[in-house]
């Protein structure tokens, strides 16, 4: 077997930053604290070795970078300060978008097109919100509750986690109850209200930027004073 000349590597796909991999001294602290060490034969130390040694396609095509939850436990414990979470996100970004596992990229595409991860049309969203608000107002103590959609000049602008209007409407009422009790002046935009940014997980900076940009637009348009970071 031919020896690898690590000082003379050609420019590679991953364009590694030194702090993502090169500074690793392979101690294995990361791997020992990772709950999915050994799954498919991978672990964080091995992933770093693969990246450094040029086994990039093997790493990009593996399931493991998507089974790792980017929880950062490895990174927190690393004596060298290797930025493993950034490495994994970068590896994920090199997957063909068509081959991103599960519904992650489909959600990103839906969000870019419709403003939310579940493609809920605006009219449906307004209907659901009003409907659940009416239901909420029937509960004891909340009879004058009104859904403050698109209210201008509010103190707090909230986004919504797409799964809630999609299928867990009751879970929206907790924050409503808190706002009501605190007599808060708040609003939810009727467009581009999605608070969950799956571009973070798929390594898609463009999508992530677009989604955050829409929140900024809503803040400007509705002249809101404060943003409540998505839950």
């Amino acid at each position: 077997m031919e020896a690898l000349d690590l000082t003379n590597r050609s420019r590679r796909k991953l364009e590694l930053k030194p702090e993502w991999a090169n500074i690793c001294f392979a101690c294995g602290t990361c791997a020992s604290g990772c709950p999915v060490t050994g799954v498919d034969g991978w672990d964080p130390r091995k992933a770093i070795r693969a990246a450094v040694l040029g086994l990039e396609d093997e790493l990009i095509d593996a399931r493991w970078p998507w089974i790792c939850t980017m929880c950062g436990r490895c990174q927190y414990a690393c004596p060298q300060g290797v930025e493993f979470v950034s490495l994994i996100r970068h590896v994920r970004s090199h997957r063909d978008r068509e081959k991103v596992p599960g519904t992650l990229h489909k959600g990103v595409e839906a969000a870019l097109k419709t403003g939310n991860n579940f493609s809920i049309p605006k009219d449906d969203f307004i209907f659901v919100m009003e409907d659940v608000a009416e239901e909420f107002a029937e509960e004891e103590g909340f009879s004058d509750f009104k859904m403050p959609l698109d209210k201008k000049g509010a103190n707090i602008l909230c986004t919504v986690h797409g799964k809630l209007p999609f299928g867990a409407t009751d879970d929206m009422k907790f924050w409503w109850k808190i706002f009501y009790a605190a007599k808060e002046d708040w609003t939810i935009p009727s467009e581009n209200w999605e608070g969950v940014n799956w571009g973070l997980f798929t390594g898609d900076d463009e999508a992530m930027k677009t989604m955050v940009g829409r929140i900024v637009e809503n803040m400007e348009k509705l002249e809101a004073k404060n943003l409540l970071f998505p839950e």
């Binding site: 998507w66 790792c68 939850t69 980017m70 979470v85 103590g141 907790f174 839950e231």
Partner: protein, 168 residues
Amino acid sequence: MATRLGLQKWFPDAFKKFGVYTVFDLMIKYIKEGRIKLDKTRHPQLSTYHDPCNYGRKSEMMFGHGYYEEGRWIMDQCTDNWVDAYPNRANQFCCGAGGGAWLTPYNEERVYYGRKKIEQIKATGAKLIVVPCHSCYDQFKKSLRVEYDMQDLEVKYLWAVVADSIVL
């Protein structure tokens, strides 16, 4: 986390111009200002608290502040009967559904991942696990509870605990 990261990176002016709150900051503000009153007797069962990676360890690494104590302070306002799981804060185990794992087809691996967290919770003897994160919530409630035969474990959002403790 994505929103804060994106604001800092791509919209620094907006980030400066608008005020921002995390869910913790806002709940704490309401409680401290006396705008919401909480009844500690509504959650008498033994509870425990889960640090989500994004609010805790990853916030600490990325923004210089991990939201560890905020959630615990809120727990203290809602109940006298809760204990920490071990390890916690920066060394906590991820629930297994982070990083979008809830949305991939690798269910078996996601459940396997969660065994660590479940062991922690079992060791506390808690009847209620409180989480301030949507992914963790789904992982505990819809998956781990069932897979690890803990159907009696109640799962609640931190803001649900607060909302349900409110005295109007």
